[in-house]
């Protein structure tokens, strides 16, 4: 039986969606953004990256953009990806799910309360 509640995303899918949240990027830029967003805690290799991109394209979470870079500035063989509406909604749903878990963990005093500046 399939659950109606959204299932957690895999770490690779989550980090790629997050990396593309602020605009289109090519493969290596995605890898850099993943590393920066996780403060170096999570790194994604090229094999995992393109395997995940393949599945995300099939699931319509991301699309390849039609525009090609300027050949003077970049290699034209490079392909850029951006989030689809579905991809953005999926990312938001996962973040909301994490947020409610975090709130629950704070209620249970598993982690300390959020600093006041974060709550403002």
């Amino acid at each position: 039986m399939k659950s109606s509640t959204p299932q957690p995303l895999t770490p690779a899918v989550f980090h790629i969606l997050l990396a593309l949240a602020d605009g289109e990027k090519h493969g290596y830029r995605i890898m850099q953004a993943v590393k920066a967003n996780s403060q170096g805690e999570f790194q994604i290799g090229p094999g995992t990256l393109y395997g995940t991109i393949k599945r995300m394209l099939a699931d319509e979470l991301i699309v390849e953009t039609d525009e090609r870079p300027d050949p003077e500035l970049d290699d034209q063989r490079r392909r850029y990806y951006r989030l689809t509406d579905q991809g953005r909604q999926t990312l938001q749903a996962d973040l909301v799910r994490m947020d409610s878990l975090l709130k629950r963990a704070r209620t249970l005093k598993v982690i300390p309360p959020a600093p006041a500046r974060l709550l403002q």
């Binding site: 090229p46 094999g47 995992t48 393949k54 970049d74």
Partner: protein, 206 residues
């Protein structure tokens, strides 16, 4: 800004380029060029200023990641080409997997003398009856053949041709998926070897 770099800029690139040929063809066709560029970017940016040790570590990380990814893509491709829709085929694949595990276990125990428990005793109990032994032996004998049938029967097309007043029964096989064909051929091979071995030993040929 990214500059266009020669594909042989880093010494490990030829190896990575060669490893890309291990991917399934559809994946390679779609992502090969992009992956090469990403390798170049990563190797140049991450190892450019570093020591040889750092360069080696990063190259090893890419290679390990690629090996896992290649395996994953082949599994994914395999699932796509199998197109296992029938419940019978799913049962056949599960039975074949169990069959292979049993023989690998038996081989490990009795041929390689690994410290494993006797698989037959483990499965049937310590003092198993001769009937349980016969049923189990029969199942081990029939599983590859039955699995073969689950793949061949759905692909079988039977036509009756009537030419010149004579009716002829024609059997033809539809084109199977690549994965299905591999499993069917493997089952056929195993059945021939298994049945041939039993038949020739019963005939006292060896």
């Amino acid at each position: 800004m990214n500059t266009v770099i020669s594909p042989t800029a880093h010494p490990v690139l030829p190896l990575l380029r060669w490893m890309l040929t291990w991917y399934p063809k559809p994946f390679r066709k779609r992502f090969e060029q992009e992956m090469l560029l990403t390798f170049q970017d990563w190797l140049n940016n991450e190892t450019g200023m570093g020591s040889r040790g750092r360069s080696f570590r990063i190259s090893s990380t890419i290679i390990a990641d690629l090996l896992l990814s290649i395996l994953k893509e082949h599994c994914s491709e395999w699932r796509n080409t199998m197109k296992v829709s029938s419940i019978f085929q799913k049962i056949a694949i599960a039975a074949l997997t169990a069959w292979l595990i049993f023989w690998a276990w038996t081989f490990g125990k009795w041929v390689l003398h690994l410290p494993l428990v006797d698989p037959t005793r483990w499965l049937l109990g310590k003092d198993y009856s001769s009937m349980a032994s016969s049923i189990f032996g029969g199942a081990m004998f029939l599983i590859p053949f039955l699995a073969l049938l689950t793949f061949v029967i759905p692909a079988l097309k039977i036509n009756i041709s009537s030419e010149g007043g004579d009716s002829t029964l024609l059997f033809r096989l539809h084109k199977m998926g690549k994965g299905q064909a591999v499993v069917a051929w493997a089952c056929l091979g195993i059945t021939v070897v298994l049945w041939g071995t039993v038949f020739t030993s019963r005939m006292g040929w060896w």
